[in-house]
Symmetry: C2
Subunit: 158 residues, 2 copies
DNA sequence: CGATAAATAGACCTAAATGTCTTTTTATCT
DNA sequence: AGATAAAAAGACATTTAGGTCTATTTATCG
């Protein structure tokens, strides 16, 4: 695969949070339900994003996650780096063994070309490039309420 | 990781074969020693490349592997496809669930941008972009002979 | 203060990717 | 024909990514 599942999850989660109103924190449960990411696995990813200071978490009642900075200051590159999916920097992925700038392998140039494209894509795009085009009154609500029509009701009433 | 180990191996192996003289087949043992790919794992990858008709294999004594076509007719894309690392085509990697052209997710455009760059890189580059710049009298020889200086001697004389 | 609701932490499981080993098949050479 | 040398096939082991579950901590509310 060219993009790991984990980095895809991280980008999706951050994109979701970028669409939520910034005043109140988003619970991981809602984020999981809305984005289709398994709850407990998502929690691990969110923790890493908190450690990378891309998110702020609030424990306890009324807790949840909020972006730590404005959307235009969170690059895709930061998100990928936070989950350890940082695009290869130093080493040439296709070099056999001891490939570097001084002693390049036969694929060094063409690999560097692609690597540069990926890096600039990740460095030039921020969460600002990802916000919804059309204002949606349901943003920030758990999407279960969108289906059921009863936004306040928890999913485990028993 | 952004590129799987297997697809990296496949590209390296093909690049190595592209550097070898086309008249005689390269043994997988030599290919493994030269490229640093584990022998038996390499064998599996080579078999897939044969099935994809990018390589021709010759069994028995004096056997080995040769490119099935001229270097400028083997695209990186073909190699990646052969080992099932084909860059994502239809689906949007960052879409949540039901993202497509008609109903795009908030990351559809920016993902499509990157995906297009990766695809064109893989489609536009062939093994011709990878051949060594400087002719090397040792190409096609097992690299162990390069170190030992006794090209004809097998590595298990006992 | 006690109940509740959230993140946090970490043990643990599963599946897929990766790597190793052995046997079988097939061709070539003497 | 027999010996040898190669790919082919496939069983098996290991590692890592991905995913689940449970307990703990921390905050808020009544």
């Amino acid at each position: 695969m060219l993009v790991s599942q984990t980095s895809e999850y991280a980008l999706r989660a951050m994109a979701w949070l970028a669409s939520a109103p910034p005043d109140e924190p988003v619970r991981s449960r809602d984020l999981a339900a809305g984005s289709g990411i398994p709850l407990h696995y998502l929690s691990k990813i969110l923790r890493r994003l908190v450690l990378a200071e891309l998110l702020v978490s609030q424990k306890g009642k009324r807790g949840g996650f909020v972006l730590a900075r404005p959307v235009n200051e969170i690059r895709f590159l930061d998100i990928l780096a936070a989950v350890d999916a940082y695009p290869t920097q130093g080493r040439c992925a296709f070099g056999w063994g001891e490939c570097d700038e001084l002693n390049p392998c036969t694929m060094h140039d063409t690999w560097t070309e692609l690597n540069g494209k990926i890096l600039s894509w990740a460095a030039d795009n921020t969460l600002a490039n990802v916000q919804p085009k059309v204002p949606d009154p349901w943003f920030g609500r758990p999407p279960s309420s969108r289906d059921a029509g009863t936004p306040e009701e928890p999913e485990k009433p028993a």
